[in-house]
Symmetry: C2
Subunit: 338 residues, 2 copies
């Protein structure tokens, strides 16, 4: 049911399985061993980067269904989005599957928007299986939002590097969960658009930090909990600079998260050794980190309750060329081990 | 609850109010008198077409709230999308309101995807007020998907003309409905992606017709009803040519809809007098026709049950340049007078 102003509680939504397919840079990063599959270059045997991303998307979805031993026609609904104009990666990939499909867009917060909607269908509408897919691809994003790599433009230190990852998450209800260790989706908060009036598209991390704080505060208020309810709070993706701003805003509001907080964009790469400037970003980043390494840590009993704060920068190049700033949003969902 | 393979039933979702803001061509069309507000040119006092569309969007939302005497902070959630890259019209407009927001994309089926999701929140999660917004703008779409008008490119007869319309629909539960004539959202069906392998972006109507038929068939099967359950079946937007193909596919499957079927893109313009080739299209078209003229007809008692079949073409120019075809989707929802 609705909780407070903008939150929702779930009691019957479980993580059945997930699959993460990445590119070479992510495979070579500190979490490389946790991913299901990786391609050796950004073309993934295809002739264009968009087709490469579609191939990654299909591969992630197929591996997920395979691991869970579920057929596409048993999936009640796929909810999905990506960073491409008109989310074409999701829509074109979904041609191959016999499954109802809803397209969503919330930039890098897309995966959590999908998890919130998917949890609603399972918890309140008796759906059995829902898949939430999201993807991003470094070369597709570079040419769409910035300049192709071949231009060799110089980048500022605060820019992030788009993560190449296709992620597929399978949710189910209690009847269909057979795993011994049960991981549930429990508490969600839907964010609102907040514009911090930054207009530099290379500084997306800081542009989203105020939206991230707003959703965290709403989440704590709505559920009447303290940040220490969680063992880990994960944002995605604020960058090194956005993380610092977010922690400062929390401090100024007497919310001390320093010991339990990290950002997925800083975890997927080694910032000292890999050429990614201030971290990773992209709608594939947060789910790639969370539904591989973090779920593994939860299954090992190291952490029990995680809050995902997925942040999105809701601009496009054509509106920024009209002297606009960059609005941000953040959607939250908790993952809790029973 | 879930009904059949891909449908959902609602019992407690009402149309509270709606607002339709259009451009000059729509105002001069056969339904002009039914719209709430119109701008005299496509710039709407702004300096760019995107900002014009944002202004139309805000105007539609404001009029809707005003008519219903509800404040933005009383709205539990806005669900919204548009045809712009990264749905920037919705996201930038939503900066101005203190309301949680979910971005969606399903091309010209966006409004019905929003109505389905909004109905779920009201029916199953005890939300009071949900607003579903959608918009499209002729000049923004022409330059983004085709060529700017100034190029003067020749158009084939089967091309449609993007409708300039911002639409805002307010849903509520039984507690908040005070109107004597109660109009409910009752039966929804979520579509799947179907690619009819047409690759001409000027022939979108025909590319979506098979998806439209698929969703109609699923809808009738899931609810075990006949097409004659409805007084009117409205697609949006198939064009003159897509409509013909859709009727032919229905005929071939022994579903006779000819006497109860029309397409919103053919209703919003006078095809003989206005220069729109094979009809109107765009994510604003179906809601502009339905939540003005059609609702009026329902309130007058002329029709009682309407099925909306919103169709979307899920392409973008960059993927079509890679020799791809155009996948279609169709989502359905019924509007019924008690």
């Amino acid at each position: 049911m609705k909780v407070g102003k903008s939150s929702i509680q779930f009691d019957n939504v479980y993580l059945k399985d997930s699959s993460i397919v990445v590119g070479p840079k992510e495979k070579n990063g500190p979490l490389g061993q946790y991913f299901d599959f990786s391609f050796d270059d950004l073309y993934c045997y295809e002739k264009s980067f968009e087709k490469a991303e579609i191939r990654m998307y299909n591969t992630a979805f197929d591996i997920n269904l395979n691991k869970a031993k579920v057929l596409d026609k048993e999936i009640d609904l796929v909810i999905s989005g990506d960073l491409n104009n008109q989310i074409v990666i999701s829509s074109y990939s979904m041609r191959n599957y016999d499954t109802p499909y809803l397209g969503i867009f919330s930039a890098c917060a897309t995966s959590v928007e999908g998890l919130i909607l998917g949890s609603i269908f399972i918890n309140y509408l008796n759906y059995n299986y829902i898949v939430v897919n999201a993807s991003s691809h470094n070369a597709v994003c570079e040419k769409q939002f910035r300049f192709p790599n071949e231009y060799g433009g110089q980048k500022p230190q605060y820019i992030t590097s788009t993560v190449t990852a296709a992620t597929s998450i399978l949710l189910c209800n209690e009847e269909n969960i057979t795993e011994d260790i049960k991981i549930k989706f429990k508490k969600a908060t839907i964010g609102k658009v907040i514009d911090y009036t930054i207009s530099d598209p290379q500084d997306l991390g800081r542009s989203m930090a105020p939206a991230c704080f707003h959703t965290l505060k709403e989440h704590l208020n709505d559920f009447k909990i303290d940040v220490n309810y969680y063992d880990l709070i994960l944002s995605g993706d604020l960058s090194k600079f956005g993380k610092e701003l977010f922690v400062n805003i929390c401090d100024a509001n007497n919310i001390d998260i320093k010991n339990i907080y990290n950002d997925c964009g800083l975890m997927i790469y080694d910032l000292d050794k890999q050429d990614v400037h201030s971290g990773g970003s992209g709608s594939g980043c947060l789910p790639a980190v969370c539904f591989s390494y973090i779920i593994n840590e939860m299954k090992n009993g190291k952490i029990k309750r995680v809050l995902l704060l997925a942040t999105g920068a809701l601009h496009n190049p054509s509106i920024l060329n009209q002297k606009e700033s960059i609005p941000g949003i953040c959607h939250a969902i908790s993952i809790e081990r029973e």
